[in-house]
Structures are given as structure tokens and as C-alpha cells.
Symmetry: C2
Subunit: 489 residues, 2 copies
């Protein structure tokens, strides 16, 4: 029998208590490995540091802008969760999991079924990412709310949580998730990981641990068990498996916290040490992304929301077209040409000149500009088969001329509209609506919410849920949002 040194140290032994077991297994971990130890300074104890942050955060201690952005994050997330709730992806997941669900502890937005909280967290998490229309932390491309909100909203149905405490936990979870993402981005994402799924369990576990009031050791163990359950590869993009990932991140984080709360142990240094999370899953570990400004600077305040139901690359053009239409009172039939100076990616990704379907419209800068002039919007309805085949839109899109131009950033566009009367109108978009610099207004978020709920919930119910989201800090029980947002409520 040929065995390398690693294969020699397997068995711990029988009938050990937990501390004994830890010692026994530590010997296995102690085997020298192929890679020599580095000479670098040891990493700071970031697992413990995060646990302290989780425990010490309070609603009262959150800066006002962080609270406000937390509410906006929540509102946007509830909207997309409602919006996705009758997609085939969710229908399949609901029917697959129903026979295995525990007690009907928590509801699903837009639906009638109730599940145990872990399955409910999974399903609401899936629903909220189906359209890829949820919030984005642009520094890491993490979609932060899905894993966190899904977990703690389900938890709140079993254990009442005030709106303030809920918001605090939401902020804490997003902060942990995004800072861990910052620590390993971009290498981790470039390698092939779906970073929302890999960092999401930390956020879900952190937020749940916060609501449970776990002590420091149990919070650390919750993070360790979350680290052990990362989810998602980028190869899943293009299938239902993509929205699976934030859903599973939510239920995994919740699972971690539930076990840790009862005393299930993990490592005390799972994130930072040599064969822990960060060094195993990334070639980059910038520990300062965890420690710098923790508790004073908030990544969650940098969260952004998509105003348009398409790739971000077309957003500046749609924004410019809507501004020109509305502010300069331009009618589509008055337009002779629309000249766009764009970044190369725009044509690379959205260069379809003659789309036939709503989906193809999502990959056509020509359609996006035209429909924005005709309808003054870039929502779901503007990327329907109807809109793409509307004769006015078809006529106008042939007058759209994008030209790749050096000096134009991918987040920018330079638009010149020439009218039939010879006048020209010019707009240069540096920061499109939905960016950090030019965030969607509250009114725009409300409109997006209603648009997503349209066809899923009656308008009056959608309005009620929307108001509750806006009023989150004043709710006596955050779970009332779910109760108000299920079908037939």
C-alpha cells in the first residue's frame, strides 16, 4: 500500500466528547502539506473581528444614510421577490420541495404555499434573483439582499423581530457579506465563483446570528459553518441554477446559525487561516477590507438598484433617451437620427440591429434607445415581444447609430439627437440613473416595485406592501411584510 503523508492520519477514534474530538482531529489538520508556509505576517483574526462587529451593531448606532439605504435595499428586494414568484423556476422548486418541507412556518411572496423557514428562505431567495433585477454592490457584483433578507425574513416569522432590529440585522449581514467579497474580489470571481452564492452564506448566518443574539463563540461557529457551505459557479449563468445560488446561500446561512445556536462547533478562525475560506477560495486576500472602518464605513450604503430590465451596459443610453424625450419634449416621429458614442462593450454585447423578440431586444442598443424614446421607460414591458415589434419602435431603431468612441467609459454614453427640423439635442451621461452617484430616487424605486408586482398582486395589496417596506423601522414585526405580500393576503 502506498500512502502519502496525508493519508496516514485519518482516524480520530470512538466515543470522544467534543473537545476531545477537536484535539483528535487537529492532529489530522496538523500534517504538513505540499505548499510551504509563507513568510508573510499572519492574517488578523477576521472571523473573530466580524463576530464582534455582528454582536455590537445596533439600530440606534447606524448612521442615518445607512438606515435609509437599508430600507431602500429591502423595498427593492421585496419587489423583485414578488416579481419572480410565478416564474417557472420557482414553480418547479416549490413543487419539488413541498413533500419534504417542515411545518408551514413561513410564506412565499406572491404565493399561497407555506414552508419551514429554511425552505422558505431558499425559495424567496431564488425568486428574488430570477430576473437578475435585484440590488448590486458594484465593487464586487454581489447581489447582497437575496441571501440575507430571505433568511432573516423567514426567521422573523417564527421569532418576532421589530423592524428596527430587522434593519440592523439586514445591514450587518450585507456588511459582512460585501466586506468578505471585497477581501477576495476580483480574483475569486475571475476564478469562476458566483460571488453572491459564496459570500451570501456569511451574510445570512451573520444576520441570523444577530437576531438570535448568539454569543461571540457561537457567532464565530455560525460563520465557520457558513464558510463550509459556499454556493455557486459562474458556469451556472444561463440556467435556473443561477437564481438557485442566492437562495441556497440564504438557507445555508440560516442552517449554519441554527446549528451554531445549539452548540454545534466549528473553527474559531475559519475565514483567515491557511486552510480556511479565504486562502482556499482565492489567490487574493486583502484583510484590510474586513478591518478598515468596520462599524463606521458601511459598504451596504453603496448598494445600487437597476432601473432598467436589461444589462447595465445599455442603461446610460436609455437614461439619455428618456431625459431627452421628457425634458426636451421630443416626439419619436420628429427624430431624424440618434447618434451614440459608446464603449466597445456596448456593441459587443448589445449589437443586435433587428431583434424579433423581447428577449432579443435586451441585446439590442438600437431597440433600447428607440423604445425609450417611444415609451419613456426601460422596464419589463419595454422588452416584450409587443414592444420590439411596435412599428414606431422598429422605425426609430433604424435611425439609431452607435459608434465606438475612445474616451467613453463603459458606464457612459454621449447622445446627439438630430430632429427633422435640423435642431440637435445633446446629452452626455457620465453617471446613469441607478449608479452609486445617481441613485434611483425613492419614487423610481416605488414605480419599479409596482411594476414588478403588477400581475402578481392586486394593486391595492402591492401598495400596502410597498408602504410597509418604506415604513420598515416602525414595524412592530418585520415578518408582517411577508404576511402582507403572500397571495390572497
Amino acid at each position: 500500500m502506498t500512502m502519502n503523508r496525508r493519508s496516514l492520519i485519518g482516524a480520530a477514534g470512538l466515543a470522544l466528547g467534543a473537545p476531545a474530538l477537536q484535539m483528535a482531529q487537529a492532529a489530522e489538520g496538523a500534517a504538513p502539506a505540499a505548499a510551504p508556509p509563507t513568510a508573510k505576517a499572519p492574517p488578523p483574526p477576521v472571523t473573530k473581528i466580524l463576530a464582534e462587529f455582528i454582536r455590537s451593531s445596533t439600530y440606534d448606532g447606524l448612521p442615518e444614510n445607512v438606515r435609509r439605504e437599508g430600507v431602500r435595499t429591502f423595498l427593492n428586494w421585496v419587489g423583485v421577490a414578488i416579481g419572480g414568484s410565478h416564474h417557472e423556476t420557482l414553480d418547479i422548486a416549490v413543487s419539488a420541495l413541498k413533500p419534504f418541507s417542515g411545518p408551514p412556518q413561513a410564506g412565499l411572496f406572491g404565493r399561497t404555499e407555506r414552508f419551514d423557514i429554511m425552505n422558505a428562505a431558499f425559495l424567496n431567495g431564488v425568486s428574488s434573483h430570477i430576473f437578475d433585477f435585484d440590488d448590486t454592490h458594484l465593487k464586487t457584483i454581489i447581489h447582497p439582499a437575496g441571501p440575507v433578507a430571505s433568511a432573516i425574513l423567514a426567521y422573523a416569522e417564527m421569532h418576532p423581530v421589530s423592524g428596527k432590529d430587522f434593519l440592523d440585522a439586514l445591514v450587518v449581514g450585507i456588511e459582512v457579506e460585501c466586506r468578505i467579497g471585497n477581501m477576495v474580489y476580483p480574483n475569486h470571481y475571475d476564478a469562476g465563483w458566483h460571488i453572491t452564492g459564496t459570500c451570501g452564506p456569511f451574510g445570512a448566518a451573520a444576520a441570523t446570528a444577530k437576531l438570535m443574539g448568539l454569543d461571540e463563540e457561537k457567532t464565530i461557529f455560525a460563520l465557520g459553518l457558513a464558510a463550509s457551505q459556499l454556493v455557486g459557479l459562474r458556469e451556472s449563468f444561463g440556467s435556473m441554477n443561477k437564481s438557485f445560488n442566492p437562495g441556497r446561500a440564504a438557507s445555508n446561512g440560516l442552517f449554519a446559525a441554527i446549528l451554531a445556536a445549539k452548540g454545534f462547533t466549528s473553527s474559531e478562525h475559519m475565514i483567515e487561516v491557511r486552510r480556511g475560506w479565504a486562502q482556499t477560495i482565492s489567490t487574493k486576500q486583502d484583510w484590510s477590507q474586513i478591518t478598515d472602518g468596520l462599524g463606521s464605513h458601511y459598504e451596504s450604503a453603496l448598494n445600487t438598484y437597476k432601473p432598467f430590465a436589461c444589462g447595465i451596459v445599455m442603461h446610460p443610453t436609455i437614461d439619455a433617451a428618456i431625459q431627452t424625450r421628457d425634458e426636451d419634449h421630443v416626439k419619436p416621429e420628429d427624430i431624424r437620427s440618434v447618434d451614440l458614442k459608446v464603449h466597445p462593450l456596448v456593441l459587443e454585447l448589445t449589437g443586435k440591429t433587428a431583434p424579433k423578440t423581447g428577449l432579443e431586444g435586451k441585446f439590442s442598443i438600437y431597440h433600447a434607445a428607440a423604445v425609450a424614446f417611444v415609451e419613456g421607460a426601460g422596464g419589463e414591458k419595454q422588452f416584450s415581444d409587443r414592444a420590439v415589434n411596435d412599428p414606431r419602435v422598429v422605425a426609430l431603431r433604424q435611425k439609431v447609430h452607435p459608434v465606438v468612441t475612445p474616451g467613453i467609459d463603459a458606464a457612459q454614453v454621449d447622445m446627439t439627437v438630430t430632429l427633422n427640423d435640423g435642431r440637435t439635442l445633446h446629452r452626455h451621461i457620465v453617471h446613469a440613473v441607478g449608479s452609486v452617484e445617481k441613485p434611483m430616487t425613492d419614487a423610481q424605486l416605488d414605480a419599479k416595485f409596482k411594476d414588478l408586482a403588477d400581475g402578481v398582486l392586486p394593486a391595492a395589496q402591492a401598495e400596502r406592501v410597498l408602504r410597509m417596506c418604506r415604513d420598515l423601522p416602525n414595524l412592530s414585526n418585520a415578518a408582517d411584510v411577508t404576511r402582507a405580500g403572500v397571495a390572497g393576503a
Copy 2:
């Protein structure tokens, strides 16, 4: 707003059906990444190749030695699952998960509680790894049975499965799991992954898909969803999180198959492509480990079982001592000295000269040799506080002299026993019992099983369960083994 190219392509859009959604999301995946494409030949479609293997396997087509080893694997696994069933680790997990469990669909070995099949798969999987005494595929150090058997035994309680079909599925799952492990070992393990947890979901998903009779596409999707849910980091070693990993691998694989069976989609090439599993989680991908001899050579037939309840590094010494004791009729009080020529790792890992507790005894080559001479065994009872403090053992361990000797492999020992009458007895162990070359006999496995069940199940019940394991291919329903192995059955 500064955005890199990856952050520009987020939103798909609303109200898409599944195929449309795939196209929309594909655009996100299509963004060029930091790493340039390699010039290497494209990998073979191993995801599809494995799915074909899974679907085509039959009990009748399995070689006789593969069937026999499958039965031994199962029997050993049931034994360790019973053995761990009342450890604190499992008590905590059972109590934490009970409030969320679905219908009482499946039992737990050695216990009275019943859980939905996904929680039951998790819990039996945890139980079976608590003592680190389960089976080992030495080429990868994967503990193969835990993730696979836990999943399909739970499944079999809901959907009756004949013993033959169960054994076929067990073999298929282990084969998929170990070949995927071979593909990425050792780099993947060296990086920090707990390979049983990362490859386990594939095994569980493959075996469950097999029992469900999924078509090729759904089998592929089950593998893709399993790939998305890898579990476990080596930093977990030394805590309950270690046995968590095979348990979660089992429930994750089952979760994957259950979703895929209803039409939940994933990638068709999740294992092999650039941002799929193997290239994301390992710097080594040897595709031939999947394809070579698939369906004719069986990794599952290389499975091994530990005879002694301690690290493998001490196994040759214990083996030599027991042989000398039993075959040369040596009594402990007749021994003047025990001279051992050993590999450096033996003293590095098990150099404790004066252990005080059973656990410390596991890290003492002195104790291991002594107790084997005194009691003729190396089981759980030989690593108890009682055994470590037995005066006869204490006296003898002071006569044990290990010396690091060049040329002695870590799997070997050279033992010379000098008796008080001046005689010397010599044994050179090249392959210790429990190795591939000198496997545990069926009788030894039976004895190990009974030892593990002792104190958990009444002897007659343990005997009954053991006989059922031995008779697995003739059982009309494999789940009868669980039903016979729960407490009070």
C-alpha cells in the same frame, strides 16, 4: 460611477421563460474575464460522460469483486453510523433541526427520531463520520460511503429500492465521487478543501439520480446542482464541522437530484468548462481520471476500512503487536523491550510517551503498542481512559522504543520484541491490516461492527442489522436496514 466590464452586464429582465432566461444570462457569462483563454485542448464532456455512466450501470453488470466490496462498504458504514449516533455532535444536530423537519420519512441509526429524508440524510451522514472511523479511498482520502449511502438510504425509505438496485446506486455514486476526486487530487486537497465534502455531493446526486431513473439531461442537471453545493474546508478539522461536511454533502446531493427531477435546470458542462467546477476549485484537472476505464475499472473496489480506532500511522505497529501476541503467544509480562523502526511521521504525530487519557493515547505510539500486546486489539476500548491507565499497559509502554529509521515507509513498521528469557521475535509489516493489499477480513469487519454497535443497540438487534447488511443484494427493500437499525426496532 466606476465599473469594470463584469459589472456592466447584470440584468437579464423580467418575465422570461426558462430558455429565454438561459439566453439572457448567457450574455452575462459571455463577458471576457481577466484570465486569457488557454491554448490547451478543450476538455472532454465529462459531465455528460458521467451521466451516461450513471444511467447505464446495472447490478447485473457489476463485476463480482465490485459487488462484494460494495457490501463491505455498506456494512462498515452502517456500523460507524450506529456507533456515532449518540455522540454529542449528533445530539446537538438532532435537537437543532427537529423544529424544521418535514414529515417523519426516514429514521436515524441508533435513535428514535424520524426526519424528512433530506435532514435524515444529513444526520446519518454526520453520525457516520464522527469517529473518523468510516471507509477511506486512499488515493484521494475521500470517505466515500457517507455522502452516498446517507442520501440513498433515506431516499429508499420513501421509494422502496431493492437491495440489488441500492448496491448498484451505491457503487455508481462512489465511482463518480472518487473519480472526480482523482481528477483534482492532490492539488484540490492541498489547497484546503475537505475533499469528502466537495466530491460527496456528486456521489449523492449521482446515486439518487440513478435510483430515480432520471433521463440524461436531468442527471446532468443534478450533477450541475451538486457541483454548485460543494462543502467543507480542512480548517474544520478538529471541530464538529468536520463530520458536518459529509452529512451536508449527502443532503446537498439529494437536494440537487430532487430539484433536477422536477426540471430545475443547470449547465450541461458544469464539471469541465472554464468557469465550471474542476477549473475553479483546483489547479489540476486530469480528465482521464474520469474517462479511463469508466464502467470496467472500479475505484469503489479500492475502498478500505480502518481496523483500529486511531490514526493510520499507528496501524502497522498495532498490527505487528497483535500478530506477535497471538501467533507467538507472547504475554506482556514476558517482554523486556519492544524496538520499533518507524517513519519520522510516527514520532511527529504520535510521540506522546506518558498519555493520561484515552484521547492522549491516540497520539502515543508507546501506548498503542503496549495496549495491543496486553489486550490484543486496537479498538475504541483500547483508547479509553481505563486502558491508558491500566498498570500493565503503563508498565509495558515504558519498554517501547521507537526509532526513526530511513527506508521505513510511513505505512510500515519493523518490530523486534526481546523477551525476558533473551529470545527475540521479529516482524516487518509492509502492508498493515486495513490496507488495500491486506484488507480487513469479513470476520474483522463483523467484529468492528459489533464493537461499534455495543452500547447503542442490543446485541441481538446489532446481529440482525449486520446480517441484513451482509445480505444486502437479496433484500427486497434496502431501507429495511435502517428500519432494523433504529433504536427500539
